[in-house]
């Protein structure tokens, strides 16, 4: 029953914790279901189109969609992005994620593409994904976190490997170890 309701990533984590920490897997599954059940109970507030627009306008210091389209800052910031249809809410959500922050309800997501509560294909948040503090983490900490994630998502790992996630993790690793 439990296996059907929780994502494969959580299930793998449960198996891993069960093996390394010696905790009964059933207890962990029950706990995961309890947490998920409570999350479902308190549905996060979804931003309206107006609220999304307001936040994005504030970021680009404009007061309308027309002004934003003309704004040099907007055009520079979105250079290379797929053309956005600004009549659709999902386009505004994409802009919000890219330039404002994490959308309400997307701060502790679960699912195959989610690591540490972040959907790695919707957000580029390497420090959160690596579970590190940007200000205090050493080069060694970064390498260690990277190794752990690589081990789990490397395509050669038959249980939890995923080439797409592995590539994204590599990109994130490059971004936090880069030099100007």
């Amino acid at each position: 029953m439990a296996k059907k309701s929780i994502s494969p990533a959580i299930f793998n984590k449960i198996q891993q914790l069960s093996e390394t920490e010696g905790i009964d897997a059933q207890i962990l599954e029950d706990f995961a279901l309890f947490v998920l059940g409570n999350r479902r109970a308190s549905k996060p507030k979804v931003l309206s189109m107006g609220e999304l627009k307001g936040a994005v306008f504030a970021h680009f210091e404009v007061s309308s969609t027309k002004d934003m389209r003309k704004s040099g800052a907007y055009r520079m910031a979105t250079d290379g992005m797929d053309k956005l249809n600004l009549r659709l809410k999902e386009s505004w959500e994409q802009l919000y994620r890219q330039f404002v922050g994490i959308l309400p309800g997307e701060d502790s997501q679960v699912g195959e593409a989610c690591i540490n509560g972040v959907d790695i294909f919707k957000y580029f948040k390497p420090w959160t994904v690596f579970g590190l503090d940007a200000k205090t983490s050493s080069e060694q900490d970064i390498k260690q976190a990277y190794r752990q994630l690589s081990k789990r998502y490397h395509p050669d790992n038959k249980d939890s490997g995923n080439a797409r996630i592995f590539d994204r993790i590599n990109l994130m690793y490059r971004s936090i170890t880069a030099v100007a």
């Binding site: 250079d79 948040k125 390497p126 100007a180």
Partner: protein
């Protein structure tokens, strides 16, 4: 290529642009110079140079001009009419942005398209943001330690071992600098790069696209003129022999002689293999080539091509006097700074 001097705006030109008298301009400058501890500063060799030591006339960089325009906008007394006009036309803002646009135009030679994005070299990024390599590195590090670091491939990339920043990367860097820099005029400059940048880059990209279209048109016309025949080997494309490519070769290389790049007479049709052979002989595609180089190559490798020799000698007679703008810039630069030449 040596960088041109950034001090190009004379005091009279600046005063005219700002719609004040030269005397009023120097009064504003006196305010800048009077209090070294306030947030407004004009630094010699960064914002201006003394053009005339005897009279103290100054010549300004776009950053210097921008700082004065911004100061006037903040402190200048405006009549109701001026305020209405500013409100309706953003007149002063346009003047400030024009100085930024000038800097963008002067420092966009490295602009390249890659993966549907536009990238600028680090050197050009530093020049456009009016900052130093060291400060740009700091901004990069600050962003790296932020919640959303710059993304490799999207915000920056290394092209042939050289760091390039995309327009979205430039936006993030300018945003960081416009918040973190100490000096107000530098912060405002970086903010204005956001505002004026993309439109200017778009104009440059459009001009480049049009130039490429003109070159393609000239090459097609040259191939038609040469009857789809290699002018060196005289091999013609026919229904029995069409498994080879013909190249439109710039006798005076298009990169070094851009003014001749879309001139049909400067293009000769040759087989692609011969084209590659010539550029290898000449030391690589990035080396400048002239009619004289092609003549020497034909004499060495294809001495029987008498028609081609005659034709290129004719082109040399027409365009041989021409000088590459890159060489001209070098000469000008030597004139400006004789010490460098020594």
């Amino acid at each position: 290529m040596p960088r041109q001097s950034k001090f190009t705006i004379k005091d009279k030109e600046l005063a005219d642009a700002l719609e004040i008298s030269v005397e009023a301009l120097y009064e504003v400058i006196a305010v800048f110079d009077s209090d070294p501890d306030d947030e407004w500063e004009l630094k010699e060799k960064e914002h201006f140079l003394i053009d005339n030591q005897k009279w103290g006339n100054r010549i300004f960089s776009p950053q210097g001009a921008f700082a004065i325009a911004k100061y006037l906008d903040t402190h200048g007394k405006k009549s109701i009419w001026d305020r209405i006009r500013e409100f309706v036309t953003h007149h002063r803002q346009k003047i400030r942005n024009a100085f930024v646009q000038k800097t963008v135009h002067e420092n966009s030679s490295s602009l390249v398209a890659r993966n549907n994005r536009h990238f600028l070299s680090k050197a050009d990024t530093v020049a456009i943001l009016g900052t130093s390599y060291c400060r740009l590195n700091t901004a990069f590090k600050e962003l790296l330690q932020s919640d959303s670091p710059l993304e490799p491939g999207a915000d920056y990339d290394d092209i042939d071992g050289v760091r390039y920043y995309s327009l979205s990367g430039l936006y993030r860097l300018s945003q960081n600098l416009s918040q973190m820099l100490k000096s107000k005029d530098r912060r405002e400059w970086c903010k204005a790069v956001d505002v004026a940048g993309k439109a200017t880059f778009q104009a440059i990209i459009d001009a480049e696209t049009k130039r490429n279209q003109r070159i393609k048109k000239a090459k097609d016309a040259a191939k038609r003129r040469d009857k789809q025949t290699c002018q060196i080997t005289l091999v013609k494309r026919t229904m029995h022999n069409h498994d080879f490519d013909l190249a439109g070769h710039h006798i005076f290389s298009s990169h070094h002689y851009p003014h001749l790049s879309a001139v049909e007479d400067n293009i000769i049709t040759i087989e692609s293999t011969v084209h590659s052979e010539f550029h290898q002989w000449n030391g690589g595609n990035s080396n400048a080539c002239t009619a004289n180089d092609l003549l020497q190559f034909i004499c060495e490798r294809y001495p029987a091509s008498t028609k081609a020799i005659a034709r290129i000698a004719e082109v040399d007679r027409i365009f041989g006097y021409t000088q590459s703008p890159l060489d001209r810039a070098q000469v000008n630069n030597q004139r400006i700074s004789p010490k460098k030449a020594a």
